[in-house]
């Protein structure tokens, strides 16, 4: 048998090299990856489109996000992001309890249409108890009621050539000299026509509160929470989704997050 080569000195040396290795990790030498226009980051971001394509392959257009029993609603829906928009337009609508609100469908459609809250409530409704997964890592189960987006899109008649549904929202995030950026979102037509994608006006059997996106919040249940736009006033059908903001397709994509948000 071999003689042991582990002496106390070797053990100390080993521990020393471990400490050295861990301090090496403790540097900011990878902070350049946070630069949005860095070439290396562009390469790493290609993984996002790979994820999108592979998940679209694995997911049938109608595979449903898990739905839960009423007994699994154990708490209110935790609000996050904008919870109280302050734009003049929104405040005026809110003062009148959204009686003057209209959800507009525009862009590449046969006819531009719009719906009041009462009209939406009289249309086909879908209620679903789903899990909201925040990109931060937490989850919350709640019951959402609304009009399937596919119903609204059918009313408008989507023209050939439309590839994205773009959602315009009343809330403005950020601030500073530029005065903040209007929140917007976009999804492909697979997500837009998905049976669980709804223009939600109800939450846990009550009217959708301001903190959760009143009067209308779009639910795209197979995506993370940041892809569930609140305070939506217009849905535009478009051939591209790069004409807005910084061109990445959504407010959060403009801020370094994956546009598709499937993982």
């Amino acid at each position: 048998m071999s003689k042991g080569v582990m002496t106390r000195r070797n053990l100390l040396r080993a521990s020393g090299s471990l400490v050295a290795a861990s301090t090496l990790a403790g540097c900011d030498q990878f902070d350049f990856l946070g630069q949005r226009d860095h070439k290396v980051r562009d390469v790493l971001e290609s993984a996002n489109s790979l994820t999108y394509r592979v998940q679209r392959m694995l997911l049938g257009p109608n595979a449903l996000a898990p739905e839960y029993a009423a007994s699994e609603i154990r708490q209110g829906q935790r609000p996050n992001g904008s919870t109280n928009p302050q734009t003049a337009e929104y405040l005026a609508l809110k003062a009148n309890d959204f009686a003057d609100y209209r959800l507009k469908i525009t862009g590449l459609v046969e006819r531009e249409v719009s719906f009041s809250l009462d009209e939406l409530r009289r249309m086909t409704a879908r209620t679903q108890i789903t899990r909201h997964d925040c990109v931060e890592g937490w989850s919350c189960i709640a019951k959402w009621t609304g009009t399937p987006l596919s119903v609204l899109l059918k009313e408008a008649g989507v023209k050939a050539g439309a590839k994205f549904a773009v959602f315009y929202c009343y809330d403005v995030l950020g601030g500073g000299l530029s005065g903040g950026e209007a929140y917007y979102e976009s999804c492909d037509l697979i997500d837009a026509n998905h049976p669980q994608t709804i223009a939600a006006y109800g939450l846990n059997d009550e009217v959708l509160p301001v903190s959760n996106g009143a009067p209308v919040r779009v639910r795209i249940e197979r995506a993370l929470g940041y892809k569930q736009p609140k305070y939506v006033y217009e849905i535009e059908l478009a051939a591209t989704n790069t004409q807005l903001g910084q061109g990445q397709g959504s407010y959060w994509a403009d801020h370094g997050y994956d546009w598709y948000a499937g993982i």
């Binding site: 071999s2 990790a25 925040c134 997050y257 994956d258």
Partner: protein
């Protein structure tokens, strides 16, 4: 048995060196090493966005299903960081909850995350890039290791390996290492647990956190008991892999780092003369 014969077949050798690691084993080893480095540090960045772990489907905000939490509080002595594990609360100022030269409220300290500052978006971009490379490397390793018999011949422990476990533990405790051409039973056990249990668990618990994958493969949530349980398991597997890494490095240094590194770079490993005759 064919496998028995394969094991008895003499290995290529020259000047006391045996060819121990195939090119597949060596390349996948180093690609994994790079991937795991970035996956760990970006994983801690992602964890820091919400440094609490729960069991079940959702996170309890109006009830308590948390099992680990890193927080900060203002006290009479100024701000302090706390870690709560299974209801036991510890002061972890400087490490968890509150850390940094200008103390900031964060789960893990900046030196343990990529980027070093709070940037969830970047953490996710880097994490998912290396996750893809990691999974691709796993598939390449699996195909190659089945094809060249590395998996069955060298990694999977057999009955006769397990019968030696008592002796092997005694040898390790006396810091006497076997320098045969083959892995000893503790090596086989730890490598097979890491490669065949922890790596797949890491990938599957990671996929369980994807809302799109939950729609595609609803069974993922069922086997792990919910999305938040999957997230907690993902974290627990990370701890086990970090533990493996520490022991792995200590063992490499203890067993002769030059020889071990040479075999993982060139494939050639120096076998102790006394053992070449019976390297079983």
């Amino acid at each position: 048995m064919a496998d028995e014969r394969a094991e008895k077949r003499p290995r290529k050798s020259r000047d006391g060196l045996v060819y121990r690691q195939s090119i597949w084993t060596r390349v996948t080893h180093w690609v994994w090493a790079v991937c795991l480095f970035f996956l760990l540090l970006t994983g801690l960045q992602i964890f820091n966005a919400h440094p609490t772990l729960y069991v079940g489907q959702e996170s309890g905000f109006e009830y308590n299903n948390a099992i680990l939490s890193m927080t900060a509080e203002n006290t009479a002595d100024g701000p302090r960081g706390y870690t709560t594990v299974f209801g036991h609360k510890f002061d972890s100022t400087g490490l968890f909850g509150l850390s940094g030269p200008r103390p900031s409220v964060q789960g893990f300290p900046g030196w343990a995350t990529i980027p070093s500052y709070r940037d969830l978006g970047t953490g996710r971009v880097v994490h998912f890039f290396f996750a893809w490379v990691f999974v691709g490397t796993m598939l390449i390793w699996l195909v190659a290791s089945v094809a060249n018999k590395h998996l069955w011949r060298d990694v999977v422990p057999k009955g006769r390996d397990l019968r030696r476990i008592g002796q092997d533990i005694r040898d390790h405790l006396r810091l006497r290492f076997d320098h045969g051409a083959k892995y000893n039973v503790l090596q086989k056990l730890s490598y097979s647990v890491v490669l065949l249990v922890l790596f797949p668990l890491m990938v599957l618990t990671g996929l369980s956190m994807s809302p799109a994958m939950n729609a595609a493969w609803p069974w993922l949530l069922e086997i792990f008991g919910g999305r938040q349980s999957a997230r907690t398991l993902h974290f627990a597997v990370m701890l086990l892999l970090v533990g493996f890494f520490i022991i792995h490095i200590l063992m490499v240094v203890a067993a002769g780092p030059i020889n071990e590194l040479r075999s993982m770079i060139t494939g050639w490993y120096r076998v102790k003369k006394t053992e070449t005759k019976s390297d079983e």
